[in-house]
Symmetry: C2
């Protein structure tokens, strides 16, 4: 999909909205971000050599002597130059008189994307030359002095080409990509939204921001944890997937409202749109129940929601896991549109159609349908064919109907129906998950549906001792437009119950968690929490195609940093202090010999 | 060293100030922290099952029905129970009438440090039984209902003993240690101070909070970087010591005011009072000079300084590196007291004392002295002896006089002189450091005094091509009470200069930094920044003896997590995906065989 370049937008006249979101343009971008977070504007030029930003100048600045610093965006016939900074663009008049020869030389000769500093006066543009589509379009700068701060070497490609090129090129030259409107917007919105979350948690509700270690020990079942060799032979730290244990220990320690914007690590090899390190808004509190956490999060999102979007309406609707599966065929339903799954078994109870008869005669056999609104009007014969094929391809997968529902939505939108309003953010709580699932490799054994510290549903505690498979948990997921953006639970605070679940039901080695079990024994308060996936949330809020668009320096889907070329080879003598050696795969030994 | 326990403080009557800082007591702690950060108090009981915190109740709450949750602090003769939460203590009257037998049973039988929930009415204490030293000392709670939320198992030691015990025990049972007044105070002050820093940077000055990767590639000379094996044979990520390269690349990317509360990593093996992971307030901005960064930081500290300390006075004084060495014998002088080093060569110019004659006849030969105020009054003969011995032990070390100055200060304070006011925070900028130092292993080669991206002093650029050893840099250190708490510099933004310094002067492999050099070529703005060591700063602000006292879950000085026992052994099959094997030292193979 094409990445919206702010450059091309500017050339086209700036105000074209970007697909799937209504993006503010340079200038109004800052107004909206700034208004949402504080009463007065930040001072963007404090402590700097400039007096103003390029993007802030208006008619109200007429006559002022200003110093601006920025990048040369483009030059028109050696008479005008457009200077850019993060705040926007401003037109600079290149002086033509003989006395300004040196200034003219600098401004005419510096390549595009060079960095210059100019001082001069804010003047009106001549009548008829105003540009109403440009926030600074009423004024221009009459230059007195200019300095070339840094010349830009000729880029190995045209900026226009670059913007159209592959994501790999964008990642390799990330520092150029970051100059784009879209990346500036995404990263600044992210910063603002996190700041508002901190204000809500810390200033309004007394949460304490506490940093927890990332050099930790491996956790049971933590197969996706990166390892960090220590200087003790055979001893490794692990980079944890979340601060789960630490946040529970903080509750035991009486720090009863904790949050952290926590860096987490997960080694999933090559999975699209995942990152080996990611960020979560990590929250835990004591003396709280499920509804307490839900209200907290609803308030958090409402408070931190960007001003340029429609306000968040609370409370969010809630469905149970069972309802979600029955109605949407998934535990993370996209509730921006209907097309719910309907049980139409009763209609066919007396059918004579053979295969339906077969199905309905079986225990739990049902016939289900999705009603596609105006399907007959929008869908073509080949669409119906593709739906039929999709169904056949996914036959016997229980999530078929859920996938089919999304497939049909895509088809309808391809055909011109507006099914999912791009300005709509549809939050949903999914609750009452099962506490355990059968293990994939051995379905007679159990594994935690989420993690082993999740408390059972209060009504289902007795089931732990009789039919643990049927026990529901106090886990809750937060879903936004069909994406899971958060999950949490009330935790087990009773050491006996925790031991029973770990040792007897899950058959885990409790020794690895002895510190946590001991902590529960020494006055652990009832507690619960949640973690929001920040990268995914910002990705949805900004309408970005990938989480890589809301991270300053993301890794490629293979986990590479394409700019610096990480991970990198390490000389074997640098491995020695860590008592490790590389085990070269036999087939690559030959390669190395070359 | 004795760790001030809030428990023992409470038993003693709460108001004793702790050595070296004036600590607020429970109750007033929160007032001071809260007032410093926002106009209205946070709602500490929102979303929770309690109606109030234990510590907030006053006469103004009389008659209110409240629900409190907390830990049993102690019980007096089965008639009173003192309940504790993070906010403070409150007295609960154990009901004696027959109808309340079940409530009484719960409250009388629950062990100390158990967690209970009580509901009841706020009543006055009987006349004469008020406790003016306790913030809630005018009231008590008449209980109606009580619930034991979690019983505390018998602790393996008395809490009183625990508080007196070794730091190792405190680290092993960190969740108990966190319940202490001091740890609660330290971590909450840290959270508040960082929040204020964010408000200053983000809301007042338009900085953008940007997260940078911690899975990166090794940097030249990065011998202290932890390694993270990847799934590609022989390829490793490195955990960077700072976001230095990323923050410079952000400047090239036009994000011209960046900050991050950044987790950094440094593998220094066992060094006292260092942590393998630590936190820095990381800042970078474009179009700025040294004084701009200095003013920014002065404003930052002034704005975020806790209300219960004397306000920070700005601007901070500045000394050059050369002056600092000459006057204080160190580049991080403690300026809370005088006792400066004075050159008294002239006095002895015509001396007949042989060894002084010898010294003064040599080039650069000087005689220097420290005047100890009232030394004759305070210091005893054996003190003079110990000073003489100290001088002999450190003979021929150029930092001798600086060490001697601190040694004398310690001695004077031991003898009762108040030399360093415990409420005084004395900031100092040290500037004009040398750009290069001779390499320790080969003094004919150069290494960067700080890092290779530091810009030379504008007056000394020509020296790079003639006498690079004499070139000063645009590096600046921030010193507080004799501790380096921050350092930064104006960076090189010119690719040619950066290449010359890396390749020609430092003889580094520029291939490892080709991405950064390329970025400088493509329109890098002039930029500079700083990093403040957050752990050290909070340690000094709270007057803590060690940075471990301002970190929730610190490692021991050997890099161990004594609570969870990290780092830990890893089964060899879990090493396979990372293509590494453990190289067991030969002498430990035998051990393993057992």
């Amino acid at each position: 999909m094409s990445f919206p370049s702010w450059l091309s937008q500017l050339y086209r006249g700036l105000s074209r909205p970007i697909r799937r979101t209504t993006q503010p343009i340079w200038g109004s971008l800052y107004r909206s971000l700034v208004q949402s977070s504080q009463r007065r504007n930040p001072e963007f030029s404090s402590f700097a050599v400039r007096t103003n930003t390029c993007g802030e100048l208006r008619s109200s600045h007429l006559g002022q002597e200003v110093t601006l610093c920025g990048w040369i965006q483009y030059r028109r016939q050696n008479t005008f130059l457009v200077l850019r900074d993060f705040h926007g663009l401003v037109q600079v008049v290149i002086p033509q008189d003989e006395s300004a020869a040196s200034v003219r030389k600098i401004l005419c000769e510096a390549p595009v994307e060079s960095v210059v500093q100019v001082s001069g006066t804010v003047i009106s543009r001549p009548a008829g030359q105003e540009n109403p589509k440009m926030p600074t379009g009423e004024i221009e700068i009459k230059v007195k002095t200019a300095e070339l701060l840094n010349a830009c070497k000729k880029l190995p490609f045209e900026i226009k080409d670059f913007m159209k090129k592959t994501e790999a090129l964008r990642l390799q030259y990330r520092y150029l990509d970051l100059r784009s409107f879209q990346m500036q917007y995404n990263l600044r919105l992210r910063s603002q939204m996190v700041m508002k979350m901190r204000e809500y948690l810390c200033n309004l509700h007394g949460f304490v921001d506490i940093e927890t270690p990332t050099l930790f020990k491996r956790t049971p079942g933590g197969a996706k944890e990166f390892l960090v060799p220590s200087r003790e032979p055979g001893k490794f730290y692990s980079l944890p997937q979340s601060p789960q244990q630490f946040k529970q220990l903080l509750m035991v320690g009486g720090l009863d409202r904790y949050f952290q914007v926590a860096r987490c690590y997960r080694d999933e090899g090559s999975r699209p749109d995942r990152q080996p390190e990611f960020t979560q808004i990590d929250i835990e509190m004591s003396f709280v129940d499920q509804t307490g956490i839900q209200s907290l999060i609803e308030g958090l999102l409402q408070y931190s929601w960007p001003n340029d979007k429609d306000p968040v309406v609370v409370p969010f609707p809630t469905v149970t896991f069972t309802e979600a599966l029955a109605t949407y065929g998934t535990d993370k339903p996209d509730t921006r549109f209907g097309m719910k799954i309907i049980d139409i078994s009763d209609v066919f109870r007396n059918t004579e159609i053979g295969f339906l008869q077969d199905v309905l005669s079986k225990p739990h056999g049902t016939v289900k349908a999705i009603c596609i609104p105006e399907g007959a009007k929008y869908l073509k014969r080949k669409d119906i064919e593709s739906i039929r094929k999709f169904a056949a391809d996914h036959f016997n997968q229980c999530s078929l109907l859920g996938k089919l529902r999304l497939e049909c939505a895509d088809l309808l939108e391809t055909r011109g129906m507006v099914l999912r309003d791009p300005t709509l953010f549809s939050f949903l709580w999914v609750v009452d998950f099962p506490l355990f699932l059968p293990k994939e490799e051995n379905p007679r054994e159990l594994e935690s549906a989420h993690h082993p510290f999740t408390a059972p549903h209060p009504s289902d505690i007795h089931l732990l001792y009789t039919e643990p498979k049927k026990a529901r948990s106090q886990h809750y997921d937060l879903v936004l437009n069909g994406n899971e953006i958060g999950g949490g639970s009330i935790r087990i605070h009773n050491a006996e119950l925790q031991r029973y679940i770990l040792a007897t039901l899950l058959k885990e080695d409790v020794k690895m968690l002895s510190h946590l079990l001991q902590a529960l024994d020494y006055g652990a308060p009832p507690h619960g929490g949640i973690a929001l996936g920040l990268d995914r949330l910002i990705c949805l809020v900004t309408g970005s195609p990938s989480i890589r668009d809301v991270i300053a320096f993301p890794k490629s889907f293979r986990g590479h940093d394409l700019m610096s070329n990480a991970p990198d080879s390490i000389p074997s003598e640098e491995l020695k202090p860590y008592h490790i050696r590389v085990s070269w795969p036999t087939d690559s030994k030959a390669e190395r010999a070359h």
